[in-house]
Subunit: 347 residues, 2 copies
């Protein structure tokens, strides 16, 4: 194991572990002694009918979405029991740096979006005996998981709010993943994933961070110097203290396992690779939420999938934060998303 | 000198050279024994009033825009004398790989958009005795040169058609240049520009090519598999045979000198760094041409500058080719741009 202090409870807690045992992956491989890290807010009611699942994005942890949860917010822990499962390989759940033996580091098996959803389903059913979810939501890779949930377990998902993500990764989005993965792997210390110390690959992580800075927020944000609203003094400070600081402490192998999961995300496998049929099988009341200026997942890609989901609406927000509006760093973005959660939960 | 067979007349001809002598740059440095390569179509009329200047984009040469010139097209060589000056450092004009001595390779001086325009002005006035241009146009970095022309020499430029480029490089666009420059320089053979053979840096050039593939055309083009319209059998073939094939033969130092020129482009220097005043000083009848799905230079950036140019109109084309619509590979893009040239020249 690599000792990477970034993935510790003092940075990302509180969270708990659910033991998946030796976990059979969709690929047929087994992930040894797998553990799913999850955060939980609120309490299940007597008939276990007040649960919400909030799935997590690429490179993030349950902590990064916790600000959407609180008294007076749509995701009110006094009313709902809200569970945030960390992705497999996200650094908290079983991941390349925290597993021993022949699955460590560059030998960690490939994980699918479906693997995460199956693991989450086991957590909900085996640990909590939940068989109904008031809402499944998540941003970006969290949206991929949300749609996989709605397609794989339609009887459990009453409402779905995938945010800025699709059931099938688009060719352009896959190219984006290739570009940032290449940037990361270009680090001379990367050694095909067999680096021997945490934080060996700072150069590659910085290059990756710059690709995110380029596509993650809108051109207008830079033009209007709205990094000032985020508390930065200059574009350079925004690049270093926001984007580089985000990625620099992370584990490259973890990012690459998640990246491949992102890229291969495809819930059409549940309908013989027919995406339209897979989307038509969704029964949840669905808000497809997106961002007008999103360069990762442009509105056209959301509209394409939304048209096949029977009980759905497309909700687009105009934020200059583009894809990263979901961080809620601009108050109006947070309020708009919180408002959409409220509207959907009231329906 | 490096022998890079890509930059030979058999690939990029016909073109001629104008000798600039020891050329004083805006930085104060001198470019030794500088030569400007240019292509010329048609003949000057008796009063030298039928000239058009067509400036060239990043990584391109005069040959790449020559398809806009021909009998029956707006840029008709039977009517106009059309001059296409290659950029300094583009591989044909004086460039890092074709200069000897202490300015070779990584020691090539920084060049500005203004340097190019001054060199072009000398070509037109000293060699051809031209003092009026019916039209100045150019795409991307060619648009930067076009706007610099219109601001620097307003009495010479009757009409201007900058296409998908701005008078002042935007912060987001500058970040784009940083990202692809980093991708190129990440090649282990790059050696800070002191590689000793042409084609040493194929890996870096491929990485750069992928960044262009990501931002250069629209996400919808990939989604709709419109690479088929370009003659490619798959996304992978499009990446390899179009984007990689474009950049792989090129000289990294040439690309990096042009990249820095792109990034530092700023015609506001002619109005005490007041961009609005600089744009307001343009007297040419101007069509600002852009592409709705351009991720390099989004329409908002064009609209911002256009509003300050008195006698101007914004003309946006919807092509899925995004920034690269200007290549005219889709017949409707070519026709639309040719049509705008006609409309402007008739006004």
């Amino acid at each position: 194991m690599l000792n990477n202090e970034y993935y510790m409870a003092n940075n990302h807690g509180p969270y708990e572990y659910f033991d998946l045992g030796d976990f059979t992956l969709e690929s047929g491989q087994t992930l040894n002694s797998a553990k799913l890290a999850y955060a939980i807010y609120g309490e299940l009611n007597a008939d276990r009918s007040n649960a919400i699942l909030f799935a997590i994005m690429f490179s993030g942890t349950s902590k990064n979405m916790a600000h959407y949860i609180g008294p007076g917010k749509a995701l009110d822990p006094e009313k709902y029991c809200i569970i945030l499962p960390n992705q497999l390989a996200n650094g908290l759940s079983t991941s390349p740096h925290n597993i021993d033996g022949d699955q460590a580091m560059e030998n960690f098996p490939a994980i699918s979006i479906g693997d995460d959803v199956i693991a989450q389903h086991r957590l909900l059913t085996e640990k909590f005996n939940i068989n109904e979810l008031q809402l499944v939501t998540g941003w970006s890779m969290g949206a991929q998981q949300t749609l996989e949930w709605a397609i794989r377990y339609p009887n459990m998902v009453k409402r779905a709010a995938p945010i800025a993500g699709t059931a099938q990764c688009t060719p352009h989005n896959a190219l984006y993943v290739d570009v940032f993965s290449e940037a990361l792997k270009s680090d001379p210390a990367f050694n095909q994933g067999a680096y021997t110390k945490a934080h060996s690959c700072v150069l590659g992580l910085k290059r990756l961070a710059h690709v995110f800075a380029l596509m993650g927020v809108s051109a207008e944000l830079y033009k209007q110097q709205q990094w000032q609203r985020l508390g930065f003094e200059s574009k350079q400070a925004f690049l270093e203290q926001f984007w580089e600081a985000w990625f620099k402490p992370m584990d490259p192998n973890a990012l690459l396992v998640m990246a491949r999961k992102w890229q291969t995300g495809d819930s059409s496998v549940h309908a013989n690779n027919d995406l339209e049929s897979a989307l038509q099988s969704i029964t949840a009341k669905t808000f497809i939420i997106g961002f007008e200026k999103d360069m990762f997942v442009p509105p056209a890609d959301l509209l394409y999938e939304q048209q096949y989901i029977h009980n759905s609406e497309l909700k687009l927000l105009p934020s200059l934060m583009g894809h990263f509006a979901m961080l809620g760093l601009f108050e109006e973005d947070f309020k708009a998303i919180d408002g959409l959660f409220s509207e959907l939960l009231a329906s």
